[in-house]
Structure formats: C-alpha cells, structure tokens
C-alpha cells in the first residue's frame, strides 16, 4: 500500500467506523486496520443490539422522552457511583444528535417488538442487530473513500515524545509500517487474551467463556500502556454474566444467555446451593451470577429445574438436560446424586405456601429456615421430568483501558499526545468504573468515535 494516509483507525467496530466516517467527511484520507477477517469484522459491535439514547420528546423509534438527568441516574445506579460525571454527561447529551446521524449513515432501527417493549423509551434497537449496523457503516465508509484492510494486525505504535510517529502492522504475512498524521485507537478491550485475564484474575480465568469476539486481545492497549500512556481501570475488573456452560469459548453472543435461574435452584459441583436464586428479576442479577459462578469450584454452576417451570423462561439455544429423576439428572451432570437429592429435598421442605407465585414480579414466595434462602419464586423442585443446565462465567468486556479527556485524546504523565485519540470499549473505563447499562457501550462508541474522528481530522488537515 503506497497511499499516504492522514489517519489510521485501529479496529473495525462501531467506534472505529464512526471515527472513520466522521474524519472522511472532512476530506481526510482514512485507513481502517481491522485485525479480524471480513466475516468477523466489527468486534463486539457484531453482538450488540441497541443504542441508549437521551431524547426530549419522541425520536425515531423512541417514545415519550428520556432526559439527561434520568439517563445519568440510571447510569449511577448500575455503576454504584463509579462514573466520570463530565464524560458521562457528554456522552448522554450527545447521544440525542447521534441517532439521526446514525440513520443518515445507514443504520435502520426497528419499531419496539415482542422482547423489547420495556425498553421502547430508552433504547433504540437496530433492525437485524449490531452486525447489520456494522455492515451499513462499512458500506457508507467505503463510499466516503475510506480504505479497509482486514486481517491487518497492528503490533506497535511508536510513541516519540508527545506524538505517535509510526504504526506497525502485519498483513498477509508481511510487516508494514505507516506514518499517518493522526491515529485513532478503537480496538476494544483485552478479554480474548486468556493469559492476560489469568494474570489479572488468577487461574480461575482459564474457565471463563468470552461472549464476544476472539480478536479483542488488547495488543495495542498493552503496547500503549507499556509506553506509559495513561490508563484507567484495573485489569481484574471485567463485566461478566452467567451463561450456558455449553457455550463456545468465544463469540457465543446473545443466544447463550439463560434466564432460568429465578425459577430453579443452583448448586455447585458438590451439589450445594450457594446463593439466593430469587433475589431479584434476572436482568438485574445475571452480572452478579457471573461473579458467583466464578467463585465456585471449577467455576461452574448447575441449574436444577422441573417440568412446571420450563415454559417460564426463554427457549435456550441448547436444549436442557432432561431426566425422570433427580438422581438420573445428577448422573448426567456429574454431580453426587445422593447429595443433590439431599439438597433438593431440604430446599423443597423449606418451601411454604406457593399460591402467590407470580413469574413476572417479585412475588415474595420464599423459603423458610434454610441458608441461603430463596426469597422469591421459591417452589419445590418436584415435578418430573427434571431439567438441568450448567452455568459458566461469560466475560462481556474489560474495564482496563486508555484514559481520555472530553476530546477523546490520550495522554501520558507529561501531557496530551498530540495525534492519538481513543474511542469505544478501549476507553470506556474512562466513564464506567463498574457495572453496565444496556446500550450504553454503543453510546460511548458512537459519541467518542465521532469526537475522535473530528479531532483527528482537524489535526491532520
């Protein structure tokens, strides 16, 4: 490749594409370096589904209104206050102008449908999901003259003083170096590098599943941190949820979710219960269960349910194990049968009056006299056939990242790096210290991708 590029964008997901399109619209010559092959382009954006958007009055597919303070309050609730208020409010405020911008750049939203009604006010859903958003953005970007290299793995950014002077990458088995005027890093977190996770988390991380792309290995992130670019967050912080234990190691995505826990009991490999399965509705608890399962021996949990509860939760991608007796189910799951029987019998005996059972609200139907208690939806596991699932920890993303300011600019301890910006998951830790709010990752990626694109282009032009 002989063309001189004004801007190199590292990464090929939502934030990278927003940055590339914004920069290209100013006339800058932009190159996207995407590690993944074309079929897997788009990073974790492939797995996303919606965009959380502030709006005063109905906007696109969104009904009513969702103002800045309510949005910010929702964020504070899930992050427990570990939020950079200035950057969070910038993301929230800018989200409103992003939605029409997204439509102009090819994204199509769907009207609220069966599973999404409860979010019709706060989250705009992409027709076909994140991969169709990514497809539309690639088409628009290429139409704007952006060049895209797939399977182009960036290995090093040469930082000299306060600027990046060289980008090294490999493509088709050979090494290349370019010296663009501006560089935007939008290459995600490091969760697909199991060794890095293991260093941070300990050996348990070997058993974690990675819900998203296998290409977020944090190569560029590590390279920049090694050169003392300012970091945010800690390596042992990641967002993880409990998912189907049979999910593939990488890229299982949305279908590996299980929402059967509130209507079941969950035991560890010794057939012992370890937490209140009915503490709250599942969308408010699946992240906690990711950590709970990670703390169990072999990082695995086993869900035991019965015939009367099967239709209360979404169909799973893999059918549940099914047996006529608890002992048979224990055999199928490699659990000690006698112990499982004892645990379930104890649980069943602790269940009281279940007449108030209500699957869609906190019904207060609780156990009495056992530890841990089950505080809602506690019904005996008694009606054959019995059903079983295994649960494992599925990592969604990592919080460790590059610290940026409101211009999306990176810095070292001596000050800003003149020509380096970051957007998306790789800098999301600058805003989110812990927890997650559905659709906020795409908000951060879109808002800061566009900012990074503008700033990088005005520097380059």
């Amino acid at each position: 490749m002989t063309t001189e590029y004004d801007i190199a964008v590292i990464g090929g997901g939502n934030a990278a594409l927003c940055a590339a399109m914004t920069a290209a619209e100013t006339g800058a010559k932009v190159l996207i370096l995407e590690t993944a092959p074309k079929a897997y382009r788009g990073g974790n954006s492939r797995h996303t589904r919606n965009f959380r958007c502030m709006h005063e009055g109905p906007l696109g597919p969104l009904v009513d209104d969702y103002n800045e303070d309510e949005y910010f309050d929702d964020l504070m609730k899930v992050t427990g206050g570990k939020t950079n208020e200035k950057l969070a409010r910038l993301a929230i405020r800018t989200s409103e102008e992003c939605l029409p911008w997204m439509q102009e750049h090819g994204v199509r939203f769907q009207p609220p449908l069966s599973g999404t009604l409860s979010l019709a006010r706060t989250n705009a859903f992409f027709m076909g999901g994140g991969k169709s958003l990514v497809n539309a953005y690639y088409r628009t970007a290429v139409g704007l003259g952006v060049d895209v290299l797939y399977e182009a793995a960036v290995t090093h950014l040469q930082l000299d003083g306060d600027q990046v002077t060289r980008v090294d990458y490999t493509h088709n088995g050979t090494s290349h170096s370019i010296s663009p005027k501006s560089v935007i890093v939008a290459s995600g977190g490091f969760q697909a590098d199991t060794n890095w996770l293991t260093r941070a988390w300990g050996p348990a991380a070997q058993n974690f599943l990675i819900r998203g792309t296998p290409y977020n290995r944090g190569v560029v992130l590590a390279d920049l941190l090694d050169q003392n670019v300012r970091q945010v967050g800690d390596a042992d912080q990641c967002h993880a949820v409990a998912i189907d234990g049979r999910a593939p190691k990488f890229d299982g995505g949305i279908v590996t979710r299980l929402d059967c826990v509130p209507f079941s009991v969950v035991v560890n490999k010794h057939a012992e219960r370890f937490y209140d399965e009915g503490e709250d509705v599942w969308p408010k608890r699946y992240a906690i269960w990711g950590r709970l399962v990670a703390a169990q021996p072999d990082q695995v949990g086993y869900v035991i349910s019965d015939a009367k509860s099967l239709n209360l939760f979404m169909p799973s991608v893999f059918p549940p194990l099914k047996a006529d007796s608890l002992e048979e189910l224990a055999g199928m799951m490699d659990l000690p049968p006698a112990k499982l029987r004892e645990t379930v019998d104890g649980f069943n005996a602790a269940c009281g009056d279940t007449s108030a059972f209500h699957p869609t609200e906190l019904d207060g139907v609780a156990t009495h006299g056992i530890t841990p208690a089950k505080t809602n939806w506690a019904r005996p596991i008694s009606q054959a056939p019995f059903y079983g699932y295994s649960l494992r920890t599925g990592v969604t993303f990592t919080y460790l990242g590059l610290k940026v300011d409101e211009k999306a600019q990176c810095s070292t301890s001596t000050g800003p790096i003149r020509n380096l910006w970051a957007a998306g998951e790789t800098m999301a830790g600058s805003i989110l210290g812990q927890g997650y709010l559905a659709g906020f990752g795409m908000t951060i990626g879109t808002v800061f991708g566009r900012i990074a694109g503008q700033k990088a282009a005005s520097y380059a032009n």
Partner: protein, 354 residues
C-alpha cells in the same frame, strides 16, 4: 400418495430455527421471525410453514452473527429454501413427475421441445378450415380442445397439493380476513421489502435493493395482465360474439402487450439478478430448475410479443407453434416448477394470518 419429506433437511432447519429463537435480533425483518418466535418447539409442519413463509430476502443471513465460519453455521435462507422445495415436491400430484423439474432446468427445456413439437404437429395435422389471424393456422376449436385441459389439469393437481400442505401445517378454517391479509402482503411483496422497506439483500451482498422485489412484481403483474388478456378475449368471444383478431386499442391487446413486455423484461432481469446473487444462500440444487422456469416464462412473454410484431408475416405459423408450445409447457408444468411457489406462498401467508 404423497412422499415423506426429507428428515435431514427438516432437522437442519429445526436446528437453525432453535438458535434463531434464542437470539431474536431479526424479528423486524419479515413474517418468518414473529411466526418462529411464537413457538418453543417446532414440529415438521411448523418448519414447513416457516419455509413457505420465507421469501429468501436474505436480510437475516447478512445480519447474522452466527454464519460460517462461526461454529453454529447458520444459513437460514438456504435451510428454509431446501425444505420449501422438498415440501413442494413431496406434496405434488402425481408423484412420478413431482421431482423431475424443480431441480432440472434441462427437463424443463426438454418439456418445452415436446410442447413445441406437439403444437407443430397440431398445426400440421389439424390446421384450420379457415379463420382470421392465428385461427388461420390453428382453428379456435382446436385451441380450446388443447388449452382447456391444459389449464384445468394443473389447477386440479395444485388443489390436491395445497390440501396436503394445509393439513401438514395445521391450517384452520378460512376466513375472508385471512385471505385479504395474505393478498395484501403478496400484492406489495411485503416480505421482500425488509422491515424498513428498502428491499432485500440479493445481487450485491448486504446492500439493500428493491431490484428483486420490483422485478418480481413486474413478472407477477405481467403474468396477471397476460392472463387477463386471455380472459377478456374469452368473454368477448363467447359473450359478445367478437372473435379475434383484435385491434391494438382493444382490451385483450392492451392488456396482453403491456403484460408481455413486463413478463419479458422482468424474467430477463430476474435471470441477471440470479446470476449475480450468491447461489449458496438459496437452494443450490434448484438453481437450474429455477433458471429454466424463468427462461420458459420469459419466452412465453417474448414469443407473444414477437407474434404481435410478425403476426402477419409468413413466420407466423412457426412462431405460433413456439408460443403456444411454451404456453402449453408452462401450464402443464405449473405444479412441478417454481410457478407452484405463488400458490404455496399465498397459502402460507393465509395460515400466518390465522
């Protein structure tokens, strides 16, 4: 007797449908997904119904996170296309010809040659005892004797097939509203429009385009116009004692000419689109049969137009044999070629409205 449907095709489509049911990202695209998401488990009949609801717009394929090289290897448009064709072949009557044409363009070509030869023979041996226009080459009564059964036999065959389909998918009593809903969707080809009305993903990977939808409607309405031309001519002949030939500014001519142009242009364009599209997102085994059918239908329109232009030359009897041969073949093969899809699609849309 109908044959059993292919269990391998059904179970592969079921495997994929179960993954789709746990994802649901595509629910906005077409009629398939709301129907799919309303169930937890899929019987053979459910899968057959989903397959016939699918219009192969491919939106879900390009939006899918789980297509190969992902280990889930989803390709729902292909899985459903294969079940769909297998369902048409399994329900077709009579069975000995059921699996001869959907997958064999060559068999369609051969049938056309036979049809053309039959008409050529009819012209030579029956001929005409006088008459104007085309009736000078083949008498009106001979045409009626040939084409009346050619029209009604396939309809009888399709009635048997659709009855089998209806029972297989668990269809209920028809209501007028089910039928109007289905016709309204088909009239706009709603399921080739994607949820955002920008068309399907066909000739250029994931780019949304109305090309296939518009071309399909050109063919569909072109066919309807040609059919209406024949219908009005029949009424004029029998009710008003106004036999052919008709002048240019007459209903049969105006309907037939516009229909013939739409049919010819539409089939030609559809052939080009099919050449550009990824064969592996449909039923690769039926590609030849589909193409043969499109060419045959296009030739019906084209030869009809040629007859209009060259009707008063010496080439007329030859052209008439070619045109009527194509029409004869087209009608007789209707239950066994892609033409059957229109009837099944309507049935599936009616079932979906219930």
């Amino acid at each position: 007797m109908q044959t059993e449907m292919n269990l391998d095709l059904l179970s592969e489509a079921r495997r994929q449908a179960e993954i789709c049911n746990a994802c649901r990202y595509c629910e906005g695209y077409c009629s398939v997904f709301p129907a799919l998401h309303s169930q937890r488990a899929f019987s053979d009949g459910d899968i057959t119904q989903l397959a016939n609801l699918c219009h192969n717009c491919r939106g879900c394929y390009y939006a899918c996170q789980y297509t190969a090289p992902h280990e889930f290897e989803l390709n729902l448009p292909k899985a459903l296309a294969e079940v769909r064709r297998d369902s048409w072949e399994s329900f077709a009557w009579p069975q000995p010809v059921a699996r001869r044409f959907q997958t064999h363009g060559g068999a369609i070509a051969l049938a056309f040659v036979v049809g053309w030869a039959a008409l050529f023979w009819a012209l030579r041996s029956i001929g005409s005892s006088g008459g104007d226009g085309f009736y000078a080459a083949l008498s009106h009564s001979a045409m009626v004797a040939i084409f009346l059964p050619t029209f009604f036999l396939p309809l009888a065959s399709l009635a048997i097939s659709l009855n089998r389909y209806w029972r297989s998918v668990g269809g209920q009593r028809l209501r007028f509203q089910h039928i109007t809903t289905a016709f309204s969707k088909a009239a706009r080809m709603k399921d080739l429009a994607a949820g955002h009305n920008e068309g399907c993903n066909f000739e250029d990977e994931d780019r949304f385009s109305q090309a296939r939808r518009h071309v399909h409607q050109a063919i569909m309405y072109g066919f309807i116009l040609c059919f209406a031309a024949t219908g009005t001519a029949t009424v004029m002949h029998y009710v008003f004692a106004m036999p052919a030939p008709y002048p240019l500014f007459s209903l049969p001519k105006l309907l037939g000419l516009s229909g013939g142009v739409l049919l010819t242009v539409g089939c030609g364009a559809m052939g080009v689109l099919k050449l550009r599209a990824d064969r592996n997102l449909g039923d690769p085994g039926a590609w030849g049969g589909d193409m043969g059918f499109i060419l045959l239908l296009g030739f019906v329109g084209f030869s009809g137009l040629l007859l209009y232009v060259l009707g008063s030359t010496t080439a007329m009897p030859t052209l008439l044999a070619l045109h009527l041969g194509a029409v004869l073949t087209f009608f007789l093969l209707t239950p066994f070629t892609k033409m059957a899809h229109g009837f099944y699609r309507l049935a599936a849309l009616i079932k979906d409205a219930q």
